[in-house]
Amino acid sequence: MIGKILLSGVLISFLSMFVRKRYNYFRWILFSIYLLLTLYFLFLWRNSFYYNESYNFLSLYGLNFSLNFKITPLGWLFSFFTIFLTFLISIFSIQKNIGEDSEKLISFFWFYLIVSNIGIFFADDFLTLFIFWELMTFSSFFVISPGWIKSFRAVNYYFVLSTLGAFFMLLGIGFLYGGTKSFSIESGYTYLFTLFSINPLLSVFITITFILGFFTKSALIPFHIWPAQAHAEAPDDFSAFLSGIMIKYGLFGNLLFLVPLFLLIKNYPSTQIITNGIPLFSHILSWVGAITSVIATFLAIESNDMKKLAAWSTVANIGYATTSIFILSSYGIAGGIFQIITHAIFKTAIFLALAAVKYRTHEREMHKLGGLAYKMPVTFLTFLLGIIAAAGIPPMNGYASKWFIYQALLSGHFPFLTIAIFLSSTGAFMYLFRALHSIFLGQLPEKFDDVKEVPFLMQIPMYILMALMLLTGVFPGIILKPINSVLISFNLQPVKVTYNTMFSTLSSVDSLKVFLTFSGSFAFAFILYLIGKPRKHVEPLDNYTAGQDPKEFGLTRELYHFALKFYEPFEHMFDSYRTNTKEFYDSFERKVNEFGNFIKESYSKNIRYSSYIFIFALVLVILYGWLVW
């Protein structure tokens, strides 16, 4: 059945090519229908775990290459949420493409992304994983850059990084195949585990190849630059998909391969160094996540482009999830997966709200916007709930997942990781408020006086996302119960949780009570508000201007909106750091250029000489093959 779904995706994508350009929204309707059908089947499979399928596509000299699919709890959870959120995005896209002469190929390649999405999450072996991984990379390349020069530059960067990561992964897969003569993931990591005691250097190398493969995709340091470019330049509705869903593939890879490996090491600590109860390797990786989140937070505080800001926020959130996952306790892994899912939900909401703003105003730089909340209340509320969730404030879903991460970090005694997460989470509040103010609050510029709320079809996904954010925040058990089955599949203790209460060793929290307390307090505030004398509304420019009449000195609403250089003095604190990094990268660039020129010259100046080198290198490789194999 999985194969049929994938195949039908391919077929419908070709079908969608025949839709006339005038009716191009019809392609998106086809896309939505396909997603809905997929979602229906996924829902049917909610209890049929470990059902597998195999398709043999090549037999060479007795070796069978086949696509193997298996429904694991982890894969099912990821695929269900990603397909559901993509369905919401596709509803948004239908309206966006009415009347807009968008590129034909976006929806065409998006079908392939969905196909590879399902393929990756249900992959049972490395070959399947890698094939769909590459399909995903290539098709996303074409979606991000439908022919615009600026986005082409951004996507080039993304593409080079992704392919590089994928090739490293292929290298690792090759090594594992050499060792086990199979593509099976499980035998892969058990083999790698045994290799750790036999040949530590090689095994560390193999692990690093996989880490590079997964970390480039999930944009962790030092590959944290690409989302800010690719997410910002991609088509607006696709940014939601990129940021909410696609960046999670790397984390899925971590959960699929690295986490079981490290869990094995943790449970049988024979050769590896164990720090604080977890393998050193995994400890380092969780630090990578924490540092990523801190740096991305500070970069987000500085950015003035709203989509870039949201992209940096994504990187920071991925940082939390990575940190939490590599803690390797059941709370850590549960918190990490929970964070991945809640982040997918609220970041989709945030990006859809931003896409709605851009749909109406065609502006991306925040200081040119302002006051849109008075014109677009639904978009504003979506964004508001989104940032409340992203800042981890109760009772939205972001807080539940962050609470889990803190429980994992604190009960595992990681004070400095906790403080790093805390720093970036407080910083998140800073940049999210900046976005809220600059886009939606403050003064509405005169040029946006006739901006209207987005059409109803675009509002539908926003309403659903708002409800979802609140629902999963008040009843975190909805997501945590499926996560428990994932934990059981990792042979970990499931976390103790009911629909509205989360328990940990340090404390427990009843989200429903938290929510009701806030509602009660709001009701109390509202009663006080009614007791006070009634207020009257005044014009936006009837404002404190130190006694001066704004009309007389030509003050417009646009000029009275404070948004540019919002945290400038704060940014100045990091000036020296910034110049140092810039110098470092500049000198690095110069060195690379010099090296490249040197090689280029040695080739082009003397052809005979360079051909000698080439032949020598070839002989060396052949000799190495003879000697080693």
């Binding site: 004070p415 805390f422 403050g442 340090l506 936006p540």
Partner: protein, 296 residues
């Protein structure tokens, strides 16, 4: 069941408002005595609040109304989770410190949203400063929270209170003096007293966030500040001064508030980026020292 909860909720909220306003009044009296004058009666703050709610007011749009209410609601909702002496609203969540720390932010967010919707740049500049300052003082405060969570193996404030029972030498203030000093400086920043009051600089940015608040909106601001004083001194009192009986708890809160005021009385204002740097260096190092001593 629900009725008792509502009753307890109201007790917690009304206590916080009542006591917070009382502390504010006493604080004003105290400040005046430092400056060798008398100031109004100790119940001056109640008069102010009633007057503010009896005045006409303006707002610029519905977000301003909504934001100001949300700001107040956020703070009083957090007070509900604070163990007021031995009194707890929820028997199963006796002051979960992580919830308290994150719930407080909804109050800040609401107030920030309300005043930003007024469209006055002075208000937004004030908010930008307040948020930058927040990233400063939250670090030492969070570090000392982490320290106490490690020490007590529980993230409930009430468990921390219980662990300090007995002689006053059991108080965490004496067990972890450096952490207490760091948190006290953080408290100064949380309450926005000098030298960390750059966000409400009256002559420079016309009292910052409050610039467009009139009548009952300013009244909400007043009440929020009162509850905030109650909440934040309450957290420190429970963490380091051993909670105690209800009266003892109130006394400890008042003493903490008066300490911050007496520091405020002799200091002028830091530029806020300097304040952030200061928070990241002195109090953070103090608490880190304590953490290292504890872990070692």
């Amino acid at each position: 069941m629900v009725k008792t909860y509502i009753f307890r909720f109201l007790i917690a909220v009304l206590t916080s408002i009542f006591m917070g306003l009382l502390y504010m009044g006493i604080g004003r009296k105290f400040m005046a005595r430092i400056r060798r004058c008398y100031a109004g009666p100790f119940y001056q703050s109640y008069i102010d609040v009633i007057k503010l709610f009896s005045k006409n007011s303006i707002s610029h749009n519905w977000i301003m109304d909504f934001g100001v209410m949300m700001g107040f609601a956020g703070i009083i909702a957090t007070v509900v989770f604070l163990p007021i002496g031995p009194f707890n609203v929820f028997p199963d969540m006796k002051g979960n410190i992580i919830i308290i720390m994150y719930f407080m932010t909804i109050g800040y967010l609401g107030m920030a949203m309300g005043v930003a919707a007024s469209g006055n740049p002075n208000a937004t500049i004030g908010i930008a400063r307040a948020l930058s300052l927040m990233i400063g003082y939250e670090i030492p405060f969070a570090l000392s929270v982490i320290l106490l969570i490690f020490a007590n193996r529980s993230s409930l404030l009430y468990d921390m209170v219980l662990s300090q029972h007995g002689s006053f030498l059991n108080w965490n203030m004496f067990r972890y003096p450096f952490a207490f000093a760091g948190s006290l400086i953080a408290l100064q920043g949380m309450l926005g007293e000098q030298p960390f009051d750059a966000m409400i600089a009256p002559a420079e940015i016309a009292s910052g966030p409050m610039v467009e608040l009139s009548g009952k909106f300013l009244g909400f601001g007043f009440l929020q500040h009162a509850s905030q004083i109650f909440l934040e001194t309450g957290i420190i009192a429970a963490m380091f001064l051993g909670g105690g009986t209800i009266l003892g708890f109130f006394t400890k809160q008042l003493i903490l508030y008066l300490i911050t005021l007496s520091i405020a009385a002799v200091f002028s204002r830091y530029r806020f980026e300097d304040a952030v740097k200061f928070f990241w260096i002195i109090p953070t190092l103090l608490v880190l020292l304590q953490l290292v001593i504890f872990l070692a």
